[in-house]
Symmetry: C2
Subunit: 498 residues, 2 copies
């Protein structure tokens, strides 16, 4: 067998194990009975250990040594070899036993976080979180870094990302976005949303709406599912089996719909992967920043546009005939675009969202460096919300316990959300050049031209290029925050005349 074929065979094995892990993870969140937590931790640890053993097999190193530098390789072969090398180097630095212990711990921490959040009691999660931070530090030490431990964690989720690259980016956004938020707070006329808050919104209507919108965008429900879970996510083992979740609140019909559009964005990306590259690293979705660009695209750039509100109004009226009787598209549009500092990240508006991320980013830096102790965390969290957003959580469930990420050991993950916001604006701006009828199409519910553009330029390109290169190929320009800031400025002007 040729070296490259053997490499592909081994990568397929690794990918299959990853698919099992995805399914176990989905089941744990959505289906698993509570008492099964401890044994599920054993399953996940086993899967993680089996994957790690294969990723670190010395034969992988030999094969890569043989293949690297060959001159007869095409674009896809080069990508597979590059990605396999990254994965091999990252994996060989983590001892098998450490990976297995960490997986077991994460599974336990997820349970204590769920309980803590439900009981609004940080102390239930405290010890597991402290241990998660210890695990993250050890992980960073194993992986290695030049300047900061935290850099090693950032690099896991977006190759090459560092504090020195991120700091100016967040500063830039803060410089341009903070004044916008301030003008809205001072001078903007807050829209009347009493029709939303003074009604109760049945789950059944919300489910129908989520389903109809997701189908219309182009999510294929013969190759996926919609369910409910505490923390919405998109998972599932492969492009033929993509499973996303949302959550429902009777007080707020927007959370479930926009959560559904967010996960539909992730889901259509997964379903659009290049199928001839199944089981190959080059065929996978390209990192978290790009993934988030797809979710943000449908949730915000499309979902919160006036055109989308025109199209979706009849669906709203169908799902909630009485409550929507006197509502027109512009009222809907204003209601889904309220710019207002708030406590919950996943419900934040586009303007304030990146400030939520910035707070987590600053806190993660402090936790990893040891400049912030776990016991000081809840207060620090509340203080930063007060300082940057002018709102202070009254309990931990809507404060420091709101996000699932740390319970899963995903420290260094949050900044990719902001990258996603920037990429989404840049991609849509480029797509508009090719789709002169874009606004008209959205107002008609004809989402396929935009989805097809993303299929061609993003989804179908898998991980053949590095994320930044993919953005450059798709848009003609290197990643930059400009398109996002322009988009936000324009929108806030139309909404609030500021």
């Amino acid at each position: 067998m040729d070296y490259y074929d053997e490499l592909l065979q081994r990568l397929k094995d690794i990918d299959l194990i990853g698919q099992l892990g995805s399914l176990l993870g989905w089941d744990q969140e959505v289906m698993m009975p509570p008492r099964a937590a401890a044994l599920r931790a054993e399953h996940l640890a086993w899967v993680s250990k089996e994957g790690h053993t294969r990723k670190t097999d010395p034969r992988m190193g030999e094969l890569l040594d043989e293949l690297e530098g060959r001159e007869d390789l095409d674009e896809i072969q080069m990508a597979n070899i590059r990605l396999a090398r990254e994965s091999y180097d990252k994996a060989t630095r983590l001892p098998t036993e450490f990976v297995s212990e960490m997986a077991k711990h994460n599974s336990r921490a997820l349970i204590s976080w769920t309980e803590a959040r439900k009981e609004n009691d940080f102390s239930i999660f405290r010890n597991d979180l402290a241990k998660s931070i210890e695990f993250a530090r050890k992980k960073a030490d194993y992986l290695g870094y030049e300047n900061l431990r935290y850099d090693a964690l950032l690099d896991i989720y977006e190759s090459g990302l560092t504090v020195s690259r991120l700091d100016p980016l967040f500063e830039g956004l803060r410089d341009k976005v903070a004044p916008l938020i301030k003008s809205v707070a001072e001078r903007g006329r807050r829209p009347n949303v009493s029709w939303v808050t003074e009604n109760s919104w049945e789950q059944e209507g919300q489910e129908r709406l989520s389903q109809m919108v997701s189908e219309s965008i182009g999510f294929d429900f013969d190759a996926g599912r919609r369910d409910a879970s505490t923390h919405p996510f998109c998972g599932g083992p492969n492009p033929d089996d993509v499973r996303w979740t949302t959550r429902y609140s009777e007080h707020d019909p927007f959370g479930s719909l926009y959560g559904s559009m967010h996960e539909t964005g992730h889901g259509t990306y997964e379903q659009g992967r290049p199928r001839e590259l199944d089981f190959q690293p080059a065929g996978k979705a390209n990192g978290l920043g790009i993934h988030e660009s797809q979710s943000r695209l449908w949730e915000n750039q499309i979902g919160r546009s006036l055109e989308f509100c025109h199209w979706s109004l009849p669906l709203w009226k169908e799902a909630f005939p009485e409550k929507m009787q006197d509502i027109d598209a512009e009222m809907l549009w204003r209601a889904v675009n309220v710019v207002e500092p708030s406590l919950i990240r996943v419900e934040a508006d586009e303007a304030t969202y990146n400030i939520h991320i910035m707070i987590r980013y600053e806190i993660e830096k402090l936790l990893i460096s040891g400049d912030l102790e776990v016991d000081e965390l809840p207060e620090k969290w509340d203080d930063m919300y007060e300082e940057y957003l002018g709102v202070r959580p009254t309990d931990n469930s809507s404060g420091v316990l709101q996000d699932i990420h740390w319970s899963m050991g995903a420290i260094g993950y949050f900044p990719t959300y902001t990258l996603g916001n920037l990429y989404s604006a840049q991609l849509l701006s480029a797509a508009r050049e090719d789709l002169p009828e874009h606004d008209l199409q959205i107002s008609r519910g004809d989402f396929s031209p935009l989805l097809d553009w993303m299929r061609r330029k993003v989804h179908g390109r898998g991980s053949i290029l590095e994320p930044a290169k993919l953005i450059e190929e798709a848009t003609g320009e290197a990643p930059s925050p400009e398109a996002f800031v322009d988009y936000l400025r324009d929108k806030v002007k139309r909404l609030y005349s500021v």
Copy 2:
């Protein structure tokens, strides 16, 4: 590390892989979107191959050689070694590649069977079934047998079972049960069940009833789930995560409830396994005959007793207040005990049930020996139903396509159902000796004395003893059909005065 500890470590690994397979199987039946079938087949094949590789590791043979014949072993150690030997011998006879191919095929066959059943078109399933029979024959040849190929298949599901042991047993049942059925058909007064058939029964009420009854019996829903699937089954990875399903028909409220009680029987068995023996063969449920004894116990011996009908009547009235207004416990009891030849095995009454099994048993013998071709099968099936039960299927969906088993490659499995019926009667007869208040307890819905008896005598004993020995330990007598025949005679007499 001691040989025995190493054996346990390896057995744990094998068990964990089996747990993953169970979860994948459950998900395939209950949750998986349709397009995912092909890649799910890859998952199952991978899991099957990984398990097989470990089961056939030569080191297992070495360890067993070292351990067998040692004199310092306790009951549990001896059981683990005996069971590991059986598994090793069975597994080493099947080549890894063959097992993987068969798993892939079974996954595909399950899809074509589902489609064929839905479309009522045997031809959709025909080729896959023919291939399944080929796989079964090859499997038998690999495993080896003394007299008949089919013996090797029977032995998979109940150790030591052969045609020469089963033929007289079915003949015996036929000799004593057939005359009973005949007298009922000729002289019995058919109960009036128009209140059942002339009503439509909402799924919601059926679900509530299934849930309440299963909880009352003692199924722990913190360690399990109830869902719906085409073919009801009980699965899930381990005693903390036991998942059973049922199905609902608006025309028949009994199918879902008695199906639920059946699966609850399987489920309580799994939940009652000896937890100190987690991951060990000795801690597993003891073969299919014993398993079926637990499902049949709750479904029939308890569920169709007059005492149970007395207790459950108020639940029925709660779930279906209008429809149950004029119904008393005796009417309910007569309606759930109609003795009448019918087409569908899982809906058959206790008296005719074993004839359904006998037909499948005879057909499997013919298919494996080659005396019956797949193309002749649908007609042969219909002919035998006409001959032995006096009813002829009008379509394949309610005939040869009704059962999932062959689509999963489970040929040789059906006879364990009849073993289960015999064991259940024998166990309840022994339990009654220890529980003089049994009938009173059931009529009060106090199921815990009987469940505790089963926990102590059956569930908690795992697979420490061979099935026949376990029955003997629990009941004081070797397995025999007498208790079952006595029970049936007595019941038919009370119901039909014949």
